[in-house]
């Protein structure tokens, strides 16, 4: 089939436009935006098979078209990212016999940030008699996400989770074992069963190393071409479908077009837009944002999880924040001095001058309130001037009472490695003085919108892992992120990408001298050239730091129309200043980290605006999206299912205006209910 012929399937997948008969619902805040936000919200179809969600994935797999083994090598699939999602997809598609081009901006696939996940990976294997099941997993995940995730997708996540563990174990991940030889499990937040599989505190590392090995195996077999130190800077859309990407070789500076019959983006989340985050230094949103600017809708950009037990920023030059395990809240007590700005060291503040605010406000759960509640409470204390530490930006997590009750040896046995890590990072001894913790930007539930088949609104463009918006709704449960990346990469895309390819046919790849790739290459080269010729005086990183501060203050743990409105103005001012004042040293034809950073910050400055627009638009509180105006009388989040049981998926027009599309959500397995953990 040539690209000129358009099968019915392709026509069905063209970017949705507003049907004339669409019911119009103007959101309250949309009017506040006037021309920027179109109050028409065209409805999106996620192509979920009708009927019982429990069997939807099996029925869809049975419908998928296949490519015969002899024909697979005629297709080229581009996979960007080598984490659990991208590495898994590239390896699995390579094993099937497709020609895969795999891209990473790192020097080696194993460096992807999946490597940094600690606690574990959930799987609904339900081997124990503790009541776990597929439905239990779906219930926990949907409720944890505050009913803003797609139910049928979560069923797929649960169903495929069993063989994710089998596969990762077989390719080299040494999961913890009981003395009887069986897999060991532990519990995580938000669930009452034990379904988390782990390898000490380095689960992400072991899964990532095993995945990278499997990817390199396909490199040796000749089915995967690995492109290291290559950063995707544009998506090429031609004839209404994704046909390739434009990359910059980070060593030689060469800007190249790579053509494919399908493109998979598995490029991670955008939590690093907050500058200080638990993400890696190089994590960025450029690949997904460039795809968005080429037409892929961006879903729920304002849904960002803040982890309550991150290490605080302790000095101006600190480059990021490190996560401390949530398990510490089992024995640590969180408090601040009653008197704001109390100059005394923690141990000299008497008991009656301490405010154990979580125990006071949430007596039933105390220090073990859910992540979003704990983060919001800490922010309240810090904002009202009772924060501690040199920058007054943290709260105490105190083990004094636990050590007195249980003895130092027991605490060391439970948390020894975490105490060492804290000591290593801060130079303070948590056995003697309390830890200092603060909420830190962590995981982004938002990302490129995709349908049930993981295809974005651009035909032929797929998304996987944290780069997408799947499964987690408005709040992710612990140990579900490694799982979603693995399920997408190893067990979903190897079904749905071939279906796309079978319908497309193995026509010729887009020629490099076609107008679309040429226009993209020119645009990328112009931007690189512009940066290198820029006459400003400020490093890109300085803008990133300021953007992060703006977002923490205005679009952070809690938001309101007032803070968001101000933040929107400030982001636009900062963006104008960036283009006026930025300075990029060095040349194009060599490693130039200033240049890499400049492009990433430029895209962050656009994404940040959309995050704020989305947060302002969604006039309810749900999960991690907490609007100060929308609370129940007891101060808890007030969800508005009548108006907002949907996914906001944003379009950004070439002139920068934003338009919301809406995917309605229905729940058949887990009835809508108020999330109450008290």
């Amino acid at each position: 089939m040539t690209t000129g012929e358009r099968p019915g399937f392709l026509a069905r997948r063209r970017r949705p436009t507003a049907p004339a008969s669409e019911p119009v619902r103007a959101s309250q805040s949309a009017t506040a935006f006037g021309a920027e936000v179109d109050s028409m919200a065209p409805q999106l179809d996620a192509h979920v098979p009708a009927g019982d969600p429990l069997t939807a994935w099996a029925r869809r797999c049975a419908e998928y078209r296949l490519v015969s083994p002899a024909n697979r090598r005629k297709f080229t699939v581009i996979v960007v990212g080598t984490g659990l999602a991208g590495g898994g997809a590239a390896a699995a598609l390579g094993e099937l016999g497709f020609q895969v081009d795999s891209f990473t901006f790192h020097d080696a696939p194993r460096r992807a940030h999946s490597v940094a996940a600690q606690g574990g990976i959930n799987a609904a294997r339900a081997r124990k008699v503790d009541g776990d099941s597929i439905v239990r997993f779906v219930t926990d995940t949907i409720k944890g996400g505050d009913f803003r995730g797609r139910e049928a997708d979560v069923v797929r996540l649960a169903t495929e989770s069993a063989r994710v563990i089998d596969h990762l174990q077989a390719i080299g991940a040494p999961f913890a074992r009981e003395y009887g030889g069986q897999l060991a499990t532990r519990s995580f937040g938000g669930v009452q069963v034990s379904r988390t599989y782990y390898t000490r505190g380095q689960t992400g590392q072991q899964l990532e190393v095993a995945t990278a090995q499997a990817l390199l195996r396909q490199v040796q077999r000749g089915t995967v071409r690995l492109h290291t130190r290559s950063e995707m800077l544009d998506l090429v859309v031609a004839d209404g479908r994704a046909q390739g990407i434009v990359t910059r070789n980070l060593v030689t500076g060469e800007v190249e077009f790579h053509a494919g019959h399908a493109v998979v983006l598995a490029t991670g989340g955008y939590g690093s837009v907050y500058f200080h985050s638990t993400l890696a230094m190089n994590s960025n949103a450029t690949a997904t944002w460039r795809a968005h600017r080429r037409g892929a809708l961006f879903a729920s950009p304002s849904f960002v999880q803040f982890h309550p037990t991150a290490l605080p920023v302790s000095s101006h030059w600190q480059s990021k924040t490190t996560l401390m395990s949530e398990s510490l809240r089992n024995d640590g007590r969180i408090w601040v001095p009653k008197q704001g700005g109390d100059p005394r060291p923690a141990n000299q503040i008497p008991e009656d001058e301490r405010d154990y605010y979580l125990e006071r406000r949430y007596p039933a759960y105390g220090n073990l309130t859910p992540r979003d509640v704990a983060s919001r409470a800490a922010r309240d204390e810090i904002e009202s001037g009772r924060g501690v530490g040199p920058l007054r930006n943290s709260v105490y997590l105190d083990f004094r009472d636990a050590i007195a009750r249980l003895g130092k040896a027991v605490i060391a046995e439970r948390y020894g490695n975490l105490f060492d890590m804290y000591h290593d990072a801060t130079g303070e001894d948590p056995y003697v003085e309390p830890m200092r913790i603060a909420p830190g930007a962590h995981f982004t539930m938002g990302g490129l919108w995709s349908d049930f088949d993981m295809m974005t609104s651009v035909p032929g463009l797929f998304v996987a892992g944290e780069a997408g918006n799947g499964y987690h709704g408005a709040n992710r449960l612990g140990a579900n992120s490694l799982l979603s990346a693995c399920v997408d990469g190893w067990f979903t895309l190897p079904h749905s990408v071939p279906n796309w390819l079978a319908r497309l046919g193995s026509g010729p790849l887009l020629a490099p001298d076609a107008p679309e790739p040429q226009a993209s290459i020119t645009a990328v080269n112009e931007r690189v050239g512009w940066f290198l010729a820029s006459a400003g005086s400020v490093r890109p990183v300085a803008f990133h730091r300021r953007l992060g501060a703006l977002l923490y203050a205005g679009c952070g743990v809690s938001r309101s129309a007032a803070t968001l409105g101000d933040t929107l103005d400030q982001i636009r001012e900062l963006r104008a200043e960036f283009w006026r004042e930025v300075k990029v040293d060095g040349r194009a034809g060599q490693i130039n980290q200033e240049l890499e950073k400049a492009g990433r910050v430029a895209d962050f400055l656009e994404l940040a605006e959309l995050m704020v627009v989305d947060a302002l638009d969604r006039t309810e509180s749900c999960g991690a999206h907490f609007r100060a105006e929308f609370v129940l009388p007891d101060g808890e989040a007030r969800r508005d299912d009548a108006h907002w049981a949907n996914v906001s998926a944003w379009e950004t027009t070439p002139d920068g205006a934003h338009r919301r599309h809406s995917e309605p959500l229905t729940f058949q397995l887990v009835p809508l209910q108020v999330r109450d953990y008290r």
Binding site: G88, E95, H106, D107, A108, R110, R111, H113, V115, A116, R125, R163, D166, H167, Q169, A170, I171, G172, P174, F175, R177, E178, Y179, G180, G181, Q182, T199, R200, Q202, Q205, Q206, V209, A212, Q213, A214, L216, R217, T228, V251, A280, M281, S315, W317, Q318, S319, T322, D424, A425, T426, W490, F491, P494, R539, V541, K583, D585, Q590, I591, Q593, E594
Partner: protein, 249 residues
């Protein structure tokens, strides 16, 4: 704190390179070694000098992207700690540091402190994996592994692939890295099935791209993942076993 820095500058792979002298006047004890370089770069840009290029990513010690040589020690003065977790407060009374790339014939310098470590990936793709196709694995609960084997496999699997072991070795050997992979996979049931051919394949890459091992043990002293010297022994043992046995497993 005022710290004088002697930093390796090299424009590209073909450039000879040289040390440049810089001073950071406002270093603080809380800074990590890499944050000191961040701060240096701020000052260099203000002075109109191109910033020093160096690699890092997670800055938590697991990705293996960072690694510089400080006063002749890969990663820095604190033993068994990656560059990103080396904090100035642990350096004692220091006012002068010499920072250069990880040095090894196997790791050509790309620019400044950035080196090419793809030789390590060539070790893995020669056979440092398990031949199991996606979806074909048996139930992991039916594959029994003793608690101790799983824990020991994890001791070896903890390698972060930073390459400090190679840089620390007077011979430029990669036996700790390759041996850790062989030991890790030989302890697991699926990995055991191609134990012999894997050992032979990895041994060949070590011969082709790295130096020989003289059992100095310098590698262990700098390894941020705590890989034990037993990995070096495993490299020798597994290779001999593979050669004598001559079979795939």
């Amino acid at each position: 704190m005022r710290i004088e820095l002697e930093v390796w500058r090299q424009d590209g792979p073909q450039d000879r390179g040289r040390f440049e002298q810089y001073v950071v006047v406002d270093a603080t004890p809380e800074m990590s070694l890499l944050e000191l370089l961040d701060r240096l770069n701020d000052q260099l840009v203000e002075q109109g000098i191109e910033p020093v290029q160096f690699e890092s990513d997670c800055r938590e010690g697991v990705c293996g992207a960072c690694g510089v040589t400080v006063d002749d020690r890969p990663h820095g003065p604190v033993p068994k700690t990656p560059s990103c977790r080396q904090h100035l407060r642990a350096f004692g009374d220091v006012s002068r540091l010499r920072i250069e790339p990880l040095r090894s014939a196997a790791f050509p310098v790309i620019r400044d402190l950035v080196v090419d470590r793809t030789a390590l990936d060539r070790v893995i793709w020669a056979g440092g994996f398990v031949d199991v196709e996606t979806g074909t694995a048996p139930d992991a609960d039916d594959v029994l592994i003793t608690h101790d084997d799983a824990e020991q496999a994890l001791d070896f699997a903890a390698c972060i692939g930073c390459g400090a072991c190679v840089a620390a070795c007077p011979n430029g050997a990669a036996h700790l890295f390759a041996g850790a992979k062989l030991a890790h996979l030989a302890l697991l049931p699926h990995g055991r099935l191609e134990r012999g051919r894997r050992a032979r394949a990895l041994g060949q890459v070590l011969d082709d791209e790295f130096g020989p091992c003289s059992s100095y043990g310098e590698c262990v002293e700098v390894c941020p993942a705590g890989i034990p010297l037993a990995a070096v022994a495993a490299m020798h043992r597994e290779r001999l076993r593979g050669l004598f046995r001559g079979k795939a497993d």
